[in-house]
Subunit: 367 residues, 2 copies
């Protein structure tokens, strides 16, 4: 496998020193920033994530900040999810679409106040779209990327670890809510969220000064909990059906194709730029959709490109993410499958670089 | 050094099979796509680039295509360079700025026709900005990323190699012009351009079908010219003063700070979104600017973050790119230096991770 050539353009994070000291072995690049992919091995990291607690440097979840009188209006222009009922202190998963209904990003919107929002983004320069829209519509709003680096604490022992550093109050944070908690005299937004199904938190660390102190404090406090550096885990996220923008969906896809129709209130999200295009999709439904796929045989090779899904000699979809799951003793995969073959139980053929394999469409993901 | 974890999100290119067969050893990620960084060694690739000819997979220079009645108007909104005199068949290096004059990208604009342009982009999702502007201003233009993958042929023997595959007509292409040339029955735009100072071409390959045939045809035709797979070379590009967006400049910088004032016709570029902000900068001049710096001592470590530049105990700038130059027998570097210390011959102190070194500001780059 090839090495990654580091440069300023692939930005380091305030936690990079900790990540390196923990022996990071692989990186990907996400929002022009380094994102660790493996520490001990993907499988070892996977078992540990499910049984203990990990610190994840997810600084690459950059924020787009909206501030000003038109902030809420702009936020609603970006997404088909109806935001009228959203309160400060809430986090909403919001598909972001262009005028054709194509997905530009699938971030989490964090409502700090009526006139102040953070959009915690997936891997695309959403800042450019938001700035372009704000400029073109002459909105009264400031849009920029603040110096905020999220640190995730994930795994079943997350509550115990977090309580030791931030106090027992963190235990009361509800899912996709956040509160303000102090560390070294600074208030930090702490949300119950994260890119795993093992439970945990994301701490929005403003500025870099306290970042390594926080990292070290959590490492120190969690010694007997077997805390370890970790990162979003390929196997666990496929088992849990956590989609990855750029892998499982792109701007070619509508939210409905991605199974995100439940986050689209197309009839009431007045002002959303892609609303007209999505009204039709919402009525007729998509002709292809994300599905969980179980692929037969031994461990599949790394899925670094789309793998064709065929049936009866015809192309009926693509696999976009796949991995061997030790816990389920099978290959777990995410793919986009045409309506004709998306029913649970349908047998299809996957063409991975090492040959053809049979696969079955599942009703649901694994966890 | 850590490995790169491949996934669909880090897109392969139509030339990836050729790149792998040639023994690529390192990658970076550029516009969500794999960009090779080293084949034999950075130094060996450097000497070879200066003496022979290389094929570069620069598919990551993605295109933003503008098509329609408002294409030319939109193009002028994006850049402070006056485009009125630009003819179809020309390529212009165009700083792209936001409403504050901050640089969003530094692409090459390719004028195919009055109503059809390609913007061959550096590493940021310029598509999002252009789509946002087109949407917000309700322009009559289609904006998308076409399936076009540039292949560069660079080095002193480029003309000879290209003539063997495309005919002697390529020798007549003038610098930053392009013409249409046939390969396997397809017309391809071939420009005299590229990210080195060694001369050469960029072939805009539409679709992936003929890509590997073209790669193989060039490899075959250039055997006796010692053709080899290559890539933008860190040492050579610093010697030549070729800036890298994300490394040497970001959206914090104006074109004038980047020494790109000669590409800004601030008084006549009517319609440019950042024009108001840049008018002041153009009059007063920047307070810091890109400079070539010669750093003393043996080879510097890899420059993966900004290195402070200090003088008399004060911070006066940052180095953003640096490498040991075998041909000039010194460390060559690019940095942003404050006005008080940017005159040629000024001695400053560079703080790289392996300690402090003296450096001298140069009048010009090396080649």
């Amino acid at each position: 496998m090839a090495q990654i050539s580091q440069s300023r353009r692939l930005r380091r994070t305030p936690f990079s020193d900790g990540v390196e000291a923990a022996g990071v072995k692989g990186y990907t690049v996400y929002n022009h920033m380094l994102l660790p992919t493996v520490f001990r091995s993907v499988e070892e990291d996977y078992h540990h994530l499910k049984s203990a607690v990990q610190l994840w440097d997810v600084s690459c979840e950059r924020q787009v900040e909206l501030r000003g009188p038109d902030a809420a209006r702009l936020m609603q222009m970006l997404t088909p999810r109806d935001l009228r009922g959203m309160l400060p202190g809430q986090c909403f998963y919001v598909p972001i679409v262009d005028e054709t209904g194509g997905m530009l990003n699938d971030p989490v919107a964090v409502k700090l106040a009526e006139d102040r929002w953070w959009i915690s983004i997936a891997d695309s320069d959403l800042l450019y779209w938001v700035k372009g829209i704000a400029q073109g519509y002459r909105l009264d709003v400031l849009v920029d990327e603040p110096d905020v680096s999220p640190l995730a604490v994930q795994g079943p022992k997350s509550d115990d670890l977090m309580a030791r550093v931030f106090g027992d109050g963190v235990r009361d944070i509800r899912f996709f809510r956040f509160g303000w908690f102090r560390f070294q005299g600074r208030d930090m937004a702490v949300a119950r969220s994260g890119y795993s199904k093992q439970g945990g938190f994301e701490i929005y660390v403003e500025g870099g000064e306290t970042a390594m102190d926080l990292w070290n404090a959590l490492m120190e406090a969690g010694r007997d909990l077997d805390v370890h550096a970790g990162c979003p885990n390929l196997i666990e996220r496929i088992e849990g059906g956590l989609l990855s923008y750029g892998n499982d969906m792109t701007d070619d896809n509508t939210p409905h194709e991605c199974g995100l129709g439940r986050f689209c209130n197309t009839h009431t999200a007045i002002g959303c730029i892609g609303r007209d295009a999505l009204l039709r999709v919402a009525t007729e439904g998509p002709v292809k959709q994300i599905r969980a796929l179980e692929i037969s045989g031994g461990p599949v090779p790394g899925c670094d490109r789309l793998w064709p899904v065929r049936a009866g000699g015809k192309l009926v979809g693509h696999v976009s993410s796949a991995a061997w799951s030790p816990d389920f003793n099978t290959n777990v995969a995410i793919g986009m499958v045409r309506m004709t073959h998306w029913d649970a139980g349908t047998e299809v053929e996957i063409h991975s670089p090492d040959g053809a394999r049979t696969a079955v469409v599942r009703e649901k993901f694994w966890i």
